[in-house]
C-alpha cells in the first residue's frame, strides 16, 4: 500500500463530506468512511496529510476526529489521538472551539 493512496482517499473523504445534510444516514456513512481512512494511515504519514489541508479542511478534520472519539472502536482512539495532536498543532485551540460551537455537525 503506497502512501499516495491513503492521502488521496483522505482528500476525497474531506472533499465529499456532506455539508448541509440533515440525513442521519448520510452523516453516519461519511463518518464511517472517514474513520476507515483515518485509521488506515501510518503514524508517520499523518503530519503530511494534515499540512496539506487549508483552514476549513483542518476544522472539518477536527470535527471528524471528535466524532470518532464519540464512537470508539477497538483501535480507533489511539490513532485518532495522533491525528488530534497534529491537527491541534495546525488549527490551534480555535479549531476545537469551533467543534464545540458548530451548528452544523458532521
Amino acid at each position: 500500500r503506497r502512501t499516495g493512496e491513503a492521502l488521496r482517499a483522505f482528500h476525497t473523504a474531506i472533499r465529499s463530506s456532506p455539508g448541509n445534510t440533515r440525513s442521519q444516514a448520510m452523516k453516519e456513512q461519511a463518518q464511517g468512511t472517514m474513520l476507515k481512512v483515518l485509521t488506515s494511515f501510518k503514524s508517520s504519514e499523518i503530519e503530511q496529510a494534515v499540512n496539506s489541508l487549508d483552514r476549513n479542511g483542518v476544522d472539518l478534520l477536527m470535527k471528524y476526529i471528535y466524532k470518532g472519539f464519540e464512537k470508539p472502536t477497538e483501535n480507533s482512539s489511539a490513532i485518532l489521538l495522533q491525528w488530534h495532536e497534529k491537527a491541534l498543532a495546525v488549527g490551534g485551540l480555535g479549531s476545537i472551539i469551533r467543534v464545540l460551537t458548530a451548528r452544523k455537525t458532521v
Partner: protein, 355 residues
C-alpha cells in the same frame, strides 16, 4: 470607561458600585464612589464633552450621572426591560445612549426637554437573544449590536426629537428608527464585541466560535471572516481603518489586518510578547512538590507568561481615535488594567506591521 482628560477612570469592581479614580502624576487615587444601583453594574460609559456618566446594571436600570460641585448626582432612566442590562454606550454627539439587555432588545434613551426626564424607545425585531455589545457609527444614528443569537446587526437609532434626518451612508439611505441596515450570517457563536471603524464604513465583530469577522459597506457589505487558532476573543476595536486589536480568553491582545483589495482578514501577531526569563532548573524538592500537587514533574511554567493573568474583557482606544490609535487600554478578569503604546509595540515587535 475613560474620559479624555484629566486622567480619570470610572470602573466597577464587580459589585453594585462605580468607583472613579484620578491620576496624580504616576499614582491613581480613588476620588468618588457612586452607589445607586441595586445590582451588579454591567456597563459604564463616560461622555467626554458633556462630562456625564451613564451606568447600567443587573437591576434593570440605567443612571445618568452629572457632576454637581464635587458630587456625582444620579438620574434614573427607566429602560422598561424585564431582564438585566448588559452594556451601554453614549452616542458620538452625547444626546442619546443605547442599552443592550437580556430582554432581547436595545433601549435608545434621549432627554425630553418638556418633561425634564429621559425617555426610551425600543429596538426589538429581529433580535432573538441577549445583546452583549454596542457601538455607534460616527453619524450618531447607526448602531451596531452584537447578540447571543450569533448575529452582528446594524440598526438605525434615529430619534427625530433630537436630531435632523441623517444623510445617506454606504449602509443605506433610508434610516427610520429601528430599521435593520445589516445582519451577519456567518458566525456560530455569541457575538461578544462589535466595533465600527472610524469612518463608519466598516464594522468588525468577534464571536465565541473563535472567529473575527468584518463587513465592508464599501464592498456591498461583503463579509470577511477569519477562523482564529486562539480561544474566543471577547473584545475588538479598530486602531486604523485597516487594523484591529482584539483580545479575549488567551489573555493577550492581538493584531489583525484587513486587506481591502482581497477582502481578507489576517492574523498580524500577538502584542504581548513576554520577556524571555532565564530558565532555571527545578530543585529536587520542587520536583517532589510538583509530583504531589500536579502529578507531573514537568518543568514547564504553569502560570501565564502574559501581562494579564486572566481573560481580557474590554479594549478601549485612549488616544488617537479609531483611525490613528496611539494608545489603547485593556482590562480583564484579573482586575488589571494595562495601557499599550502603539509606537512602542511597533518598535519592540520587529515583524509587526500596522497598516
Amino acid at each position: 470607561s475613560w474620559p479624555l482628560s484629566p486622567p480619570e477612570i470610572a470602573l466597577c469592581p464587580n459589585n453594585h458600585e462605580v468607583h472613579i479614580y484620578r491620576k496624580d502624576g504616576a499614582k491613581w487615587s480613588k476620588v468618588h464612589e457612586l452607589k445607586e444601583h441595586n445590582g451588579q453594574v454591567t456597563g459604564i460609559d463616560w461622555a467626554p464633552e458633556s462630562n456625564r456618566l451613564v451606568t447600567c446594571g443587573t437591576d434593570r436600570n440605567a443612571y445618568v450621572w452629572t457632576l454637581k460641585g464635587n458630587v456625582w448626582k444620579p438620574t434614573l432612566v427607566i429602560l422598561r426591560i424585564n431582564r438585566a442590562a448588559r452594556c451601554v454606550k453614549w452616542s458620538p454627539r452625547e444626546n442619546k445612549f443605547a442599552v443592550g439587555s437580556g430582554s432581547r432588545l436595545i433601549s435608545i434613551c434621549y432627554f425630553e426637554q418638556e418633561n425634564d426626564w429621559w425617555v426610551c424607545k425600543h429596538i426589538k425585531k429581529p433580535i432573538r437573544s441577549t445583546v452583549l455589545s454596542l457601538d455607534w457609527h460616527p453619524n450618531n444614528v447607526l448602531l451596531a449590536a452584537g447578540s447571543c443569537d450569533f448575529k452582528c446587526r446594524i440598526f438605525s437609532a434615529y430619534i427625530k426629537e433630537v436630531e435632523e434626518r441623517p444623510s445617506p451612508t454606504p449602509w443605506g439611505s433610508k434610516m427610520p428608527f429601528g430599521e435593520l441596515m445589516f445582519e451577519s450570517s456567518s458566525s456560530c457563536g455569541w457575538v461578544h464585541s462589535v466595533s465600527f471603524s472610524a469612518s463608519g464604513s466598516r464594522v468588525a465583530w468577534v464571536s465565541h466560535d473563535s472567529t473575527l469577522c468584518l463587513a465592508d459597506a464599501g464592498k456591498k457589505m461583503a463579509v470577511a471572516s477569519l477562523c482564529t487558532e486562539t480561544l474566543p476573543l471577547l473584545a475588538v476595536t479598530f486602531i486604523t481603518e485597516h487594523s484591529l486589536v482584539a483580545a479575549g480568553h488567551d489573555c493577550c491582545p492581538m493584531l489583525f489586518t484587513y486587506e481591502e483589495s482581497q477582502g481578507t482578514l489576517t492574523f498580524g501577531g500577538k502584542l504581548d510578547v513576554p520577556k524571555q526569563s532565564s530558565q532555571r532548573g527545578l530543585t529536587a524538592r520542587e520536583r517532589f512538590q510538583n509530583l504531589d500537587k500536579k502529578a507531573s514533574s514537568d518543568t514547564a511554567n504553569a502560570s501565564l507568561d502574559t501581562l494579564h493573568k486572566n481573560s481580557i474583557s474590554q479594549i478601549s482606544v485612549l488616544t488617537g481615535g479609531k483611525d490613528k490609535c496611539s494608545q489603547f487600554c485593556t482590562t480583564g478578569m484579573d482586575g488589571g488594567m494595562s495601557i499599550w503604546d502603539v509606537k512602542s509595540l511597533e518598535s519592540a515587535l520587529k515583524d509587526l506591521k500596522i497598516k
